[in-house]
Each structure stands twice: as C-alpha cells, then as structure tokens.
C-alpha cells in the first residue's frame, strides 16, 4: 500500500511537471501545422520581405514586413519608456525610500500590474490620444508614440518589481565596501549595486519585452492598425498581434488568410524565442 502511494505520488508530480512541456509542444505543433499551408500559395519571400498586407482585398497579398516593424516599433518604444522609469522605480524602492514610503509605493505599483490591458487601451484611446493631439500638435493620436506610452506604463510594474528583487538581493557587504571607499550613494548604486544585479535586471527587461510584443488589446486600440513601415514615431502601425486577433474573427476557416494568421503567430513565436535564447546565452556567458 505504502509502495503504491509512493508510485502514485511520483506519477502525479511527474505528469504535473510534464504538462507544461506537452502544452508547449502542442502549441508549437498547432502553429506550424496551421501556418505552413500558407506557403503553398504565398512565397516565403513575399511573406518576409513585402510590406503589402491586403488579406481581404480582390488581389490578396500577404506581406508581413510592415506588421513585423509595427510590433518592433511599439515594443522598442515601450522599453524606451519603461526601462528608465521601471529601473528608476526599482532603485528608489530598494535603495532610497524609507520603509514607510516603500509600504505605500510597492502595493500601488502592484495594483498597476493588476489592471486589465483593455483598461489601459481605453485610457490610451479616450484620454491620451486626444490629449496628445491637443498638446503636441500631431494629426492623429493613434500611433507608435501613444501605443509605446501605454504599453510602457503597462510593463513598468514588471520591470520595476523584478529589478527591485534583483537589487535587494545584492549583498549589503558590497554596498558597505563601496561606501567604505568613499563612494556616494549615487556612485554606489550606479557602479556597484546595479552592475551586481545585472542578471536580474536584464531578465526584467526581457520579460517586459515579451509582455509588450505579445500585448494585443492595447495595440488594437491605440496603435492605429495601419499596415505600413513607419517613418516617424507618430505614424500608425499594425503589430502582428493586431492582425492575428482582429482578422481571425472574420476569416474563413482553412483559407489562405486563416493560415497566414498562424504564420504571423509563428513569426511572433520566433521573435520571442530568439530574444530568450540570446538573453540566456548573454547572461550565461557573463555569469561564467
């Protein structure tokens, strides 16, 4: 009986562990099975290097380049905003704020993380976009700039809480060593504490990147949805996720358009996969 229980316990935990791996392979398999058929009718060259995305028009074309640039533009924009603010917040909470201030700020930032993305989208569309039109004189508020701000605000909590964890694990002894050599707080933070927490901090950026590039609702609502290669931060763009989510609803099952959306998903998957891979390699090398 006891032996049986042991075996059962082992089996249950084993399947629990293997479940996510199965899910991962299931997702990859689905993506490729549904995505590959597109290439029977659309060349890989058109898909990767053409920027003409006209999936429903009389003369269909499936160039994903503009969508790729759309995703890249809003994600980089979001990081440009969220990295300094997120890291700044983390440094403030971990190194500067008193314990009482910390108690107020930390839960507030966690609250920010709990807001559903559609609410961020509404904020961007109903408030930020018209605000920017009125105050910085742009023609339209639905563009890379607005999307970057909203996405940026959305990933600040990810970056700040993960970076803060990393900063707070930097041993006190290192801080003391730096202060003991006559360093100011600023010098200690920038030259010792942040470099020592580098792995965790870069990890937080990668997580933020993944969250931003995968975000769908916000970009549908504020990125503008125009399938073009942007030439300015005030141009509207159409990220990959927008096309997948908006067009999937109306596309005919099994059509080229249907398969092309899976091909976009493959592209998205590969981008995040490569990012993670590079981070692993980079961090691994540095730690070694």
């Amino acid at each position: 009986m006891k032996v049986f229980k042991e075996i059962l316990f082992k089996a249950v935990t084993y399947f629990a562990a293997i479940f996510s791996i199965l899910a991962l392979f299931g997702i990859i398999l689905t993506l490729f099975m549904e995505g590959i058929p597109m290439f029977q009718e659309v060349s890989l060259r058109e898909f990767l290097f053409s920027s003409a995305w006209y999936p429903t028009n009389e003369h269909q074309s499936f160039g994903a380049l503009a969508l790729f640039f759309g995703s890249l533009a809003v994600t980089i924009g979001a990081l440009v905003i969220a990295v300094p603010i997120g890291l700044g917040t983390a440094v403030y909470i971990s190194e500067i704020a008193g314990s009482r201030t910390k108690e107020i700020i930390k839960p507030m930032i966690e609250l920010l993380a709990g807001i559903p993305s559609v609410v961020y989208g509404l904020f961007g569309m109903a408030f930020l976009a018209p605000f920017l039109i009125r105050n910085i004189g742009i023609d339209s508020g639905l563009n890379i700039f607005t999307a970057s701000i909203v996405l940026g605000i959305m990933i600040i909590p990810i970056i700040s809480s993960m970076s803060e964890d990393a900063l707070s694990t930097v041993p006190r002894a290192l801080r003391e060593a730096s202060y003991g050599l006559g360093a100011t707080r600023w010098e200690t933070i920038t030259r010792v504490v942040i470099p020592s927490a580098k792995t965790g901090i870069i990890g937080s950026f990668v997580l933020g990147f993944g969250r931003a590039i995968g975000e769908t609702m916000v970009v549908i609502m504020v990125a503008g949805g125009a399938a073009q290669i942007p030439s300015s931060v005030f141009d509207p763009v159409r990220p990959l996720t927008t096309s997948i989510a908006v067009e999937m609803a109306e596309t005919v099952l099994g059509s080229i358009h249907f398969h092309s959306l899976f091909a976009l998903a493959i592209m998205l998957f590969i981008i995040t996969f490569i990012t993670n891979l590079f981070t692993e390699l980079f961090l691994f090398k540095k730690v070694k």
């Binding site: 920027s51 003409a52 006209y54 999936p55 429903t56 028009n57 009389e58 003369h59 503009a66 569309m125 109903a126 976009a129 018209p130 039109i133 023609d139 339209s140 508020g141 639905l142 549908i220 609502m221 503008g224 949805g225 125009a226 399938a227 073009q228 141009d235 509207p236 159409r238 927008t242 908006v246 067009e247 609803a249 109306e250 596309t251 005919v252």
Partner: protein, 282 residues
Amino acid sequence: MKLTKVILALVAILAIAMFVGCNNQNQEQTGSTLEGKITMSGSTTVLPIAQACAEEFMNQNPKVNISVRGGGSSIGIKDIMAGTVEIGNASRDAKGKEINKAKESGIDLYQNVVANDGIAIIVNPKNTITNLTLEQIQAIYTGKYTNWNELGGPDMNIVLISRDTSSGTYEVFYEIAMKKQNIVQNCIMVASNNAAVTSVKDTPGAISYAGLGYLSSSVKPVQVNGVDPTMANVLSGKYAVARKLNMYTNGAPQGITKTFIDFILSDEGQKIVEKQGFIKVK
C-alpha cells in the same frame, strides 16, 4: 460551512430560474404546427441577419429546421442555380451573366430584398467640408490628397481612418466607395464603428466611415455626390454608398420559405435587421 450553504442556495435559485424559463419557452412553442427544413448559403454580410432571424423563427416554430452557411455572394447564387439550397444570400444584385446562366438551366433568380446597407462618410465637426464626390473619396483613401485645403477645406492634414479589413463595413466601403481600389497603407484601422466615431471626434483632420445607425452629433456626416446619408435617401437609391442585401430564391418563394422571408420582412424581423446594424427595407 457557510460557503457551502451559500453555494447550495445559489444552485437552488439557478435551478428554479431555469425551470421557470423552460416552462415559458414550452408555452410559447406549443402554438406552432409549422414543419420543414430550409437551407441557405451565400454572403457573409447577410449571414448575421439570416442567422439571427433563423434563430428567432426556429424558436417560435420548433419543428422548423433552418441551416445557414456562408461562402460569399457568388456561392449563394451558384447554390440556388444548382438547386442545393432554398435561399441564396447575396450582398449585391445578381449580375446579368448570372441571370442568363440561370435562365438557361431553367432557374428563375427571384430577388427578395431583406435589408439595406449604407455607410456614412464622417469628418470632424471642425472640418468645413460638407460634400465629397465618390471620386474625391477614392482619391483621399488612395493617398492622392493629403491636406483638406486641396479639397477646399481648412489647411489641415488628412488623417485617414478605416474600419479593419475584416469588417463587413470595410467590405461595403471597399467595394462600393473604393470600387475595389486598395486603401493607402498609412490609413489607420480601427476595430469597431464606435472606435471610428470616437477617433473622428477626437481628431480634427480625420475622415472615416460608419454604418448609418452609428452616427452621433459628435461627428459630421458629409454629403456624397450632393446627397445626404439618410435612411430615406438610401431607400430611394439616391445615396451612393449603399447596397441592397438580398435573399435569392428560385421563383417567388413558396411554402415554408415564404413564411420565413415574410417573417424577416415583418416588423419583428426588420427590428432584428436594425439590431444587426442594417437599414430597414421600408
């Protein structure tokens, strides 16, 4: 313990509610003796009307079975000619070619207009433009004009806003207003009629389009070829960016098919049509 009690109470309430609900339905359903089967296929634009009406019709006549498929307007007309469906849905009128071909195979393509579809071109209230020709609209959306002053309006960059390519409204605009010319790539795409209206309201240089049912005082509809986008003008056929939504049958509808189409054309059916965002026939 407490939680268990609360859950039990909720389950009980739900069960009672469902029982009462079922009872009501049964009472309604017992009235009809109509029996039969209708199949239809065709335009995905007509699909929501067909589907919503079919559901309500089957609700009232439980022994009737209606199956609805998409496929596009051409498929709808083809299926009628092949005799595989009772109703072929089309978001356009049958072409001369199709009518002739049908005649050759002894089929009389009979047009039943069940709804109208019209879209208004809208601009920001601050814009002084009041009328655009169809050619101007096409030139704007293909990127030939970039400033309103080229069209006699204020000196303001034109901000193009369109519905997303997957929407039915886009389809109408693309086919009727644009005559299937590609919209320029820098055009902003929004996901809903409301989003289009909101964006135009907030953006001084914007132009967009929306179903007639979605207009509000916060945006300004412009005349197209000098005609106001009103229900009356759509019905009379004067307004250009509009089309009829048809259910084609082989000859005048008969039997259960006639009952169903009559239902769609009744006040009740036309309310469903309006609910789906289209314009009544009468």
